[in-house]
Symmetry: D2
Amino acid sequence: MKLIETQALEQALAEFARQRDWDCFHTPRSLILALTGEVGELAEIFQWLRDGQAEAIMASGEAEHVRQEVADVFLYLMRLAMVLGIDLDAAVRDKIALNAKKYPPLHD
Amino acid sequence: MKLIETQALEQALAEFARQRDWDCFHTPRSLILALTGEVGELAEIFQWLRDGQAEAIMASGEAEHVRQEVADVFLYLMRLAMVLGIDLDAAVRDKIALNAKKYPPLHD
Amino acid sequence: MKLIETQALEQALAEFARQRDWDCFHTPRSLILALTGEVGELAEIFQWLRDGQAEAIMASGEAEHVRQEVADVFLYLMRLAMVLGIDLDAAVRDKIALNAKKYPPLHD
Amino acid sequence: MKLIETQALEQALAEFARQRDWDCFHTPRSLILALTGEVGELAEIFQWLRDGQAEAIMASGEAEHVRQEVADVFLYLMRLAMVLGIDLDAAVRDKIALNAKKYPPLHD
């Protein structure tokens, strides 16, 4: 079973970029800068919160903002994977398997 | 159709964290710092490359390194979505729809 | 000769934070998240530019914006150094000396 | 009084880059990616710590590591200011004055 429907996502994002003439902007370095920008926006929402407040944020007026920033990070990451020719679904499965070997479980 | 199999991913990552006693570490602020670290590792791979070299990186010895860093960014982002109670699949679909309104297509 | 007037900067920033009751917010992890946010804002200004455009940005209407973001990164970094008890001037001098050993000059 | 000895720093860093043929690499976008990488390394040191542990880090074996990463962030930021023609000392003074207006003191 696939974890990420890479093909459907690629089709949707490729069409989106093509219809807006964005392909020429989406170089790997530009997409990593865009990813940095989005992670920065997420960080700004949480920067002055205490850990307890951070966990309660989704019950606050900031919930939709957080949800959109999380989606933005994903969308630029997916687009970066596409322009690099990385199958994100396969990369994620392989990394989970690698992590399982690198960090053996402490218990069941 | 789902774009991201949130439920299967959540089960896999929740079990992974539970078996290693990592749940107490995975607060929202810690996961955003971890995300910053992984985006930083991606940035380091590309920092001194020219745009042409960046596009050729997947034909170089760095390809597997890039693939793993891209997967790491996804895994921390997915985990952040989980601890915040965000359904990443729904958030991504909603953001694509929002972007389509915000940036109308220039042509077919 | 000092490169950074750490003492004068510390006095100014400590008084600034005290007068606004900000000290309790300025924990190391919060300041690193704030630093991430500011670097993200810098990245956003440059994300879709080609290298030639990036070099010309200070002749554009974005010049003052860039200047302020660069200053913001410095101010959070200086504040982080302060709360960690790091003398930024000494740390920078030591790092320049270390880099000089690690990367010997190729020529005069 | 200057807060940052921009001229002395610029001379030192310009000579350092020239002697190693690094000037061609130090474009604004590359320096922002390098800054992202260094902030990411700082974030990694602090990502799994609780706030209390973060404050005690300078009494731990990680102290010198933290000190070097803080210096690295400064050095790339200073270099970015240089290639953009920004006088970091003036930019920082101006930003402190601007912040003082934007956030009036709550008390003496």
